[in-house]
Amino acid sequence: MTEGLNFDYTVFIPEFLLLGLAAAIVALDLAYPAIRKQWLAYIAGCGLLATAGVSLAWIDVETNFADLVVVDNYLTYFRVFFMVIAAVVAFASADLVAQRLKHPGEYYGLIIVSTVGAIGMAGARELMTAYLSLELLSFSLYILVSYAKFDRRSNEAGMKYILLGAFSSAMFLYGMSLIYGITGTTYYSGIAAALGERATDFEWALLMGLVLMIAGIGFKIAAVPFHMWTPDAYEGAPVAVTAYLATTSKAAGFAFVLPLFSNAFQVVHDDWSWMLAGMAAATMILGNVVALQQRNIKRLMAYSSIGQVGYLLMGVAALSHASASALVLHLTGYMVSNLALFVVIIAWVHMNDSEEIADFRGMRERAPLLAGVLAGALFSLAGLPLFAGFVTKFILFQAATDDGYLWLAAIGVTTSVISLYYYLQVMREAFVSAPAEGAGPLPVPLLMRGLAVAMMLGVFYVGLYPQQLFDAIDNATRFLFV
């Protein structure tokens, strides 16, 4: 059984490094309790970036580990992707965690461990491996969401997240077992082969399995109708964790879905495509419409992220090499814009102690740089030209129309039109409303300013010169369609 399989553990060097880093940070915090807690963030962030650099060594390498995990450009892309996101979140949390949360060592440790889970989801080519990675990510997130131990909202959010998360995991597992029952294997390639020559008797079981798996995934990425947990979890979690939820957790879902559907289920594309298309439509509409009514910035971001998931799902529904590239490109542009926005939100919410959108008033005068980045990030999320969001969304919509989903693209255009409205409401508070009496300029830490500017440059890079990035992505997704 094990003959001919490749047990080369060196392919996991980046993951080993990450786990070592996580352990080292936890140990450091334990051994030297007097250490300035910001240093833990810096070590975590720098370590993550360094590991991202190490993982570049696998560019254009094609290998695998026991056929369970494939190492190719796709994995390399997402390794760098997740590590950079985690690094940005770690840096952005430095002050917040030091001043508001207990046990900073474990906080950074969990972020790093969950990154390993996210990477595993992108690399897995076997259902159990994927499931374990997914749970590694999920369990870390359950803890992170309820990290503000003495905040009732945080606890409640964590509880809801765990309950519903466990429920969705169960659905996913049941779906997996049905698929296993039909095909007799848990390897993606084996599933595809078995489905290719399947007898018609299994049509219903296959459908059930797909429905259950999609429901489980839908929960992770917060697609309608499995989105219910999102606003509460986003609102209750410490704001830096909200940022992490909105980025890594979501992106990991898509990094997992692409290989799963392209390698295992592409042969039965017609059986699930319509489900995802319907979900995409409902998600776009509900997320963007309900966002109109939000007063709390974290809830607004929750619904905004639900809307964005709808756009991304379009790319899965119309799955092809072109749409996968478009999806990853939009995912990247979206993540950069989202991080830019969250860096601003983290800094602002931390310094002002309020999450109401109304309390963003006067940002232009109190922290002009943050206000500028806020505007840029919101424009990008709304899909205005010059910013990342326009070109990536346009390419995604266009890929969807190529595959016959013109109606989905039409809904996408309509809902992005709506989305600009609620983004502008945030901007109006920040730019037009006068600051509260006696509120002076805010001393924004240099690190936060640097991060905000760096993310903004990223937004413009994707918006103005997307070519290089797209070529890299195209070269990565190519491996999913061989």
């Binding site: 509900l286 309900v290 346009f394 129309t401 190529d402 693209a409 010169y465």
Partner: protein, 656 residues
């Protein structure tokens, strides 16, 4: 040869960045100077573009200047590139030329806020940053070589417009107006985005994307010319979506409702954005994309005629509403709606030259009228009700004279610029055998002359109606009157760029489009054209006399007429109830969104969570009871489960 053209963006961009970051330290004088001088420099670049283009042989007058390749994905490869051709150069000249004069005027005008206090220096800076940003976006709109850049500018000018309408944000009416303009324009933008997607998809499906994957205008036209069948399938849908976008931006039926409210913005903004430049973007876009519109017409659906009739009806309705209004800026706003309708009429019968001609002259005289209205507002402490004015001509000599000249141009007084351009449109309707549209246009021209001179007579002639206002009134500083004089001068002689029988603008624009089947209807013969010219002149003169009769000689008569036509008057002054209908639609949508948010967001989440909690409790209760330790109960449970699963497979096999 024309490679310097990108320089046109540099001065306003630089000025806006400098003002944004250092404006407060520089002080008012420097901020205003910088903002205006930058647009002046852009104008010089536009003039250089004109000269450069002029020196090229006619058939080479479409120059594409590639700045960088944006992205290349398969066959989708839009570029960041400028298109310099007679049409875009004309637009650039109008935007920067009129824009420069309005900027100069703004230096003086914006020193005071809407309540005539000194304007805060930060707001002063913000104003110039916004208007410079507008110029940049508008230039991107007219100079971009492909649909995506057009869309970029389209969104940009919309944003600038939204920001500037709500500039007096402490006034709720200004905030509401900004919001309204925003929402209405987004409906139009939706049409634009969808049309672009539709066009690219069709190109990809028919395999023409290799040719036109850049979405550049001329690449698309080349496809239309070489293989009309390729885009035939979507020509109607795409051109109707684009028409929707144009009606939003250019305030035509059905999306015209935002423009009158947009007058809440500062007056120079009304002149620049909501009269001279941005609102003409819809006209420009249809002219630019006319091969597609003509293709749709060839395909059997006469989209062009739809354009013409939308224009004609909007022109008539706008003019009738303008007649009923007493707010000086609202009269001008409805007049703009009406004049844009004229341009749509011209485009709709394929007379792109007449449309562009009227666009140009209108930009000049309407800017002059708005700036004059601004001067009157300054002189009367922000009063806008013309029934409180009167007799201002002795107090404000320059304003009075320039306003009258511009009003004469608007009315189509013989030999003024507006006379020639409006006549060109009427002749085109006649030449295209659209006699009904011709009559409609002539009637509208009569109404136009009446309301144009109603303004002149009521505001500047007669006795002062409000002594306090009159005593306060005074002429404005030179910085504001000079732009008025220059615009007035151009309003008189602007017609020279396209004199009938000389027709230089025609030779300038026409070669870039082979006239399609719609435009080919051509001119009526010379004798007929002269008859029409005389008819236009008479119409204007009769209109002006009627205004004189009703507002100077026998002012009491208007009340009697209003009473006789009270029903009509009411409908017109209520803007034909468009606002009311839209308002109820908006409220309906809003309460739907509210319902969704309430039930699905709050109710749904809490309901689900409470439900889970209750469910778990209930289950606990049940299971406690079920876990009775009785084997029989367990067996029964298993049996029930088995029945359910078996029943499922039984049913599925029956279904199959």
């Amino acid at each position: 040869m024309l490679n310097f053209a990108w320089l046109i963006f540099v001065p306003p961009l630089a000025a806006l960045l400098v003002n944004l970051f250092f404006g407060r330290r520089l002080g008012r004088a420097a901020v205003g100077f910088l903002g205006a001088a930058a647009v002046g420099l852009s104008f010089l670049v536009a003039v250089a573009m004109l000269i450069g283009l002029w020196r090229l042989p006619v058939e080479q007058r479409t120059v594409t200047i590639l700045l960088w390749s944006w992205i290349e994905i398969g066959q989708f490869r839009p570029e960041i590139a400028l298109l310099i051709d007679p049409l875009s150069t004309l637009m650039a000249l109008v935007v920067t030329g009129v824009g420069f004069l309005i900027h100069v005027y703004s230096i003086g005008y914006m020193k005071l806020d809407d309540e005539h206090h000194e304007l805060d220096v930060r707001r002063y800076v913000r104003y110039f940053v916004f208007v410079n940003f507008f110029i940049v976006a508008m230039l991107a709109l007219v100079l971009g070589n492909n649909l995506l850049l057009l869309y970029l500018g389209w969104e940009g000018v919309g944003l600038a417009s939204y920001l500037l309408i709500g500039f007096w944000f402490h006034k709720p009416s200004a905030r509401d107006a900004g919001k309204k303009a925003f929402i209405v324009n987004r409906i139009g933008d939706f049409g634009m985005a969808l049309a672009i997607l539709l066009i690219f998809r069709q190109l990809a499906i028919t395999g023409e994307a290799a040719q036109a994957g850049s979405l550049a205008f001329y690449d698309i036209f080349a496809v239309i010319e070489a293989n009309p069948a390729a885009l035939l399938g979507i020509a109607v849908a795409a051109s109707l979506l684009m028409l929707l976008a144009a009606t939003g931006k250019s305030a035509q039926i059905p999306l015209w409702v935002w423009l009158p409210d947009a007058m809440e913005g500062p007056t120079p903004v009304s002149a620049l954005i909501h009269a001279a430049t941005m609102v003409t973007a819809g006209v420009y876009m249809i002219v630019r994309m006319s091969p597609l519109f003509e293709l749709a017409t060839v395909a059997g659906s006469n989209v062009m005629l739809v354009v013409a009739w939308i224009g004609g009806l909007t022109a008539l309705m706008g003019a009738t509403i303008a007649l009923t209004k007493t707010d000086l800026k609202r009269i001008l706003a409805y007049s703009t709606v009406s004049q844009l309708g004229f341009m749509f009429m011209a485009v709709g019968v394929g007379s792109y030259v007449a449309a562009m001609f009227h666009l140009t002259t209108h930009a000049v005289f309407k800017a002059c009228l708005f700036l004059g209205a601004g001067a009157v507002m300054h002189a009367t402490h922000g009063e806008l009700n013309i029934n409180k004015m009167g007799g201002l001509k002795d107090k404000m000599r320059s304003t009075y004279l320039t306003f009258t000249i511009a009003a004469a141009a608007l009315a189509g007084f013989p030999l003024m610029s507006g006379y020639f351009s409006k006549d060109a449109i009427l002749v085109a309707e006649f030449g295209a055998h659209q006699y009904l549209l011709y009559v409609l246009g002539l009637g509208t021209a009569l109404l136009t002359a009446i309301y144009a001179f109603k303004m002149v007579f009521v505001v500047f002639w007669g006795q002062p109606r409000d002594k306090k206002l009159y005593d306060h009134a005074h002429e404005q500083p030179r910085l504001m009157t000079w732009p008025l004089w220059i615009l007035a001068f151009l309003a008189i002689f602007g017609g020279l760029i396209n004199l009938p029988f000389v027709a230089s603008l025609e030779h300038w624009i026409e070669p870039i489009y082979e006239l399609g089947p719609v435009g080919a209807a051509g001119h009526p013969d010379v004798a007929m054209e002269i008859v029409l010219l005389v008819l236009s002149a008479l119409t204007a003169l009769v209109g002006i006399y009627l205004a004189y009769f009703f507002y100077v000689k026998q002012p009491g008569r208007t009340d009697a007429i209003r009473e006789r036509l009270s029903a009509l008057h009411q409908v017109a002054s209520a803007g034909y109830y468009f606002d009311r209908v839209y308002d109820s639609i908006r409220q309906g949508l809003w309460s739907t969104a509210h319902f969704l948010a309430d039930t699905i967001d709050r109710g749904g989440i809490d309901g689900a969570v409470n439900g889970v909690a209750r469910g778990v409790g209930w289950l606990g209760e049940r299971t406690r009871r079920l876990q009775t330790g009785l084997v029989g109960v367990y067996a029964l449970t298993m049996f029930v489960g088995l029945v359910i699963v078996l029943g499922y497979f039984l049913i599925t096999s029956l279904v199959n």
